[in-house]
Amino acid sequence: MAEFDETLGRNTVADSVPAGVHARSLTEFESLGGKVITKPFLVLAALALIGVILMLYRYMAGLGAVTNLSDGYPWGIWITYDVLIGTALGCGGYATAILVYAFNRWEYHPVVRSAVLTSVFGYSLAGLAIFLDIGRYWNGYKLFLPWSVNFNSVLVEVALCIAAYVVVLWIELLPAILERYPDNAKAVATRQRLERWLPVIVAVGILLPTMHQSSLGTLMIIAGHKLSPLWQTSLLPFYFLLSAIAMGFAVTVFESILSSMAFKRPYETPMLARISVCMAWLLVVYLAVRFADLLLRGAPVFTSGFLSFMFILENLLYLAPVIILLSPALRQSLRWLFLSAISMLLAGSLYRFDAFLIGYNPGPGWHYFPAPAEIFITLGIVALELMAYLYFVKRFPVLPTEHA
């Protein structure tokens, strides 16, 4: 076990590691230490408990008992929030991996591990949400049998890719877990083996989200006329991919600022500003393609009533970070970086709600608004996610080492 320095309240893994293990990765990250069971943790635990009880009820009484889903709106917030937005929020690991490993920008390396950590929980719990949502879950294993699968189904690509990526994410997190046991010879050997495989793991870890984040958009193509022309386009996969990467950057900035605030650590402002600028340029491309596409198709941007309002709101949220971040003065300010990250997260989330629920109209007479139990199950899943995050950053070397 790592030694624990009571006065600093911080794990000193880096100093107690045998020689021969790569030096860089050991001094770069540290665990926070401190008590895991705190007041906020207990509040989260209560929410998670309510969620778990309602989940059990869902399995006993059926989906209709806890949700407002219907034959008109068969997919609700569990798919839209827990899976679509949950995995897009889990794109921090993917987005920073692109920057560091593909674009060779190693100055961002310190945030990779905490980004991977949020990705691990975002994706793992999206997987849990899928098993809550599918009605005949005992047949779920058939998705993984090549002879029983329909390879024309976009959902197959999404399901297999997400499942594979959850495994890859846990492998990517493994070094952080193993580093906690520097005296264990087996742990050290495993870490060295993982290090050799790094290029393969990272390459797969970039390819898989590229595939399934775009395919999540492709899912709605088959809905045809049921999705408003403001969102129904062959470019759905492109928009879903680009906005997922942008949300990955935004969540990395958001999480870094929030954890610095919560754990009273120094802010990484210059690095966050540079990450935010990458995000802004991505959004410039996104918005340019989005509006050119709408113009070419002659989509009813202003004449769709409530849908027009949601569309304009969604795109203003996309535009706000661009305006903020392209100003050199504003992007040096932590407050504006934080605001632009939040705006981006809201934009990507609203876009997903629009493309799957708000802009989806199965015909007259159908309505959907999530039931209280449905919302509480989602809150329970989010609470589980936050609890796991808090436990991990306090017990494992995940956050960047303080250079104070």
Binding site: S25, F103, N104, V112, R113, G135, R136, L194
Partner: protein, 321 residues
């Protein structure tokens, strides 16, 4: 370590390949449209001949062992207001203004039957990840196999007619839909709704024959008496009926790539709740886009190879994540 132009180009080339295929407005490898199967069977429904007796609904429930569906809380009658997991066939009523004349759009009314259209190129079978929904290879009937179904309900998202229904009130639910009574085919039977239709408004048969019969009816002279086959398109039993006006449109001939259920009416079909669909199926759009990206997994492997080479080079001399 800075970002060299060469690295940027490499990443753009590999990642861009995937994006470029998305961006192409007309995908290069458009999937061929699916032709009608020669032995395909279906139903021709003629709203002008329908008297709204709902004998088809009653027969459907009996032969498919479906429970009564109570809309009214008194729980006395089977009174569904729409299709559901308990009702896979329904007769609906269109009403306008004073509702004086049958089969008239303004100040008139019209019946319309709704049940699975048994598309030629169905969205549901394309969407279903585990082939629980599939087209029977000879009859073309869209069949459901509960032993394969995972209950994801993507079929409900995909279907342009909102046909597949889910048992929301069950802990172990199924998808329920019309299967044209294909369990009765082996004994020489056919769709119960057609067997019990008293007016020839619903007739069962080979789709090619049904198309011919539909065209014949559209060519009949209004006001004259004509023979309408009962129950089956090839049946010797016929009723003589005074022809009323038809809209010159066979719904299901071209809609969404065509369907094995065809409909005739004199009120525009969108007024009767049937969607206006383009002549190509949505399944072909979805699959063309999807297969452009994933044909033989070539693009993903190329991207993976490019990423690996790049990352291998970049990680030399750097540590683990």
């Amino acid at each position: 370590m800075g970002l060299s132009r060469r690295d940027f180009l490499k990443v753009s080339a590999s990642g861009g390949l995937l994006l470029a295929s998305n961006l192409a407005p007309v995908p290069a490898l458009a999937r061929d449209p699916v032709p009608r199967l020669p032995e395909a069977v279906g139903i021709l429904y003629d709203a002008t001949a329908c008297i709204g007796c709902k004998a088809c609904m009653s027969a459907c429930k009996e032969y498919n062992h479906l429970p009564p569906d109570h809309y009214n809380p008194s729980n006395i009658w089977d009174d569904p207001i729409d299709l559901s997991a308990k009702t896979v066939n329904i007769v609906k009523l269109y009403v306008n203004g004073t509702a004086q004349a049958k089969d008239q759009e303004i100040n008139g009314y019209s019946y319309i039957r709704r049940f699975c259209m048994h598309c030629v190129d169905p969205s549901c079978t394309s969407a279903c990840p585990v082939r629980a929904l599939h087209k029977a290879s000879n009859t073309g009937v869209v069949m459901y196999d509960k032993s394969a179904c995972i209950g994801c309900r993507y079929c409900q998202i995909a279907c342009p007619y909102n046909i597949p229904k889910f048992q929301w009130d069950q802990a172990f639910p199924q998808i329920v839909k019309c299967q044209l009574c294909s369990q009765r085919f082996a004994q020489g039977g056919y769709s119960a709704c057609c067997e019990f239709c008293p007016t020839g408004a619903s007739i069962f048969g080979n789709v090619q024959d049904l198309l011919k019969e539909a065209k014949r009816r559209l060519s009949l002279k209004v006001g004259e008496f004509a023979d309408y086959p009962l129950q089956r398109v090839d049946s010797p039993n016929k009723v003589s009926r005074q022809v009323t006006p038809y809209l010159q449109h066979i719904y299901g001939d071209k809609e969404g790539g065509g369907s094995q259920v065809l409909m005739l009416a004199n009120v525009p079909f969108n007024k009767l709740g049937l969607p206006q669909l383009p002549p190509t199926s949505q399944a072909s759009h979805s699959e063309t886009l999807y297969h452009t990206l994933y044909k033989g997994m070539i693009v993903p492997y190329v991207v993976l190879g490019g990423l690996f080479a790049l990352i291998y080079k970049n990680t030399t001399g750097h540590g683990l994540p």
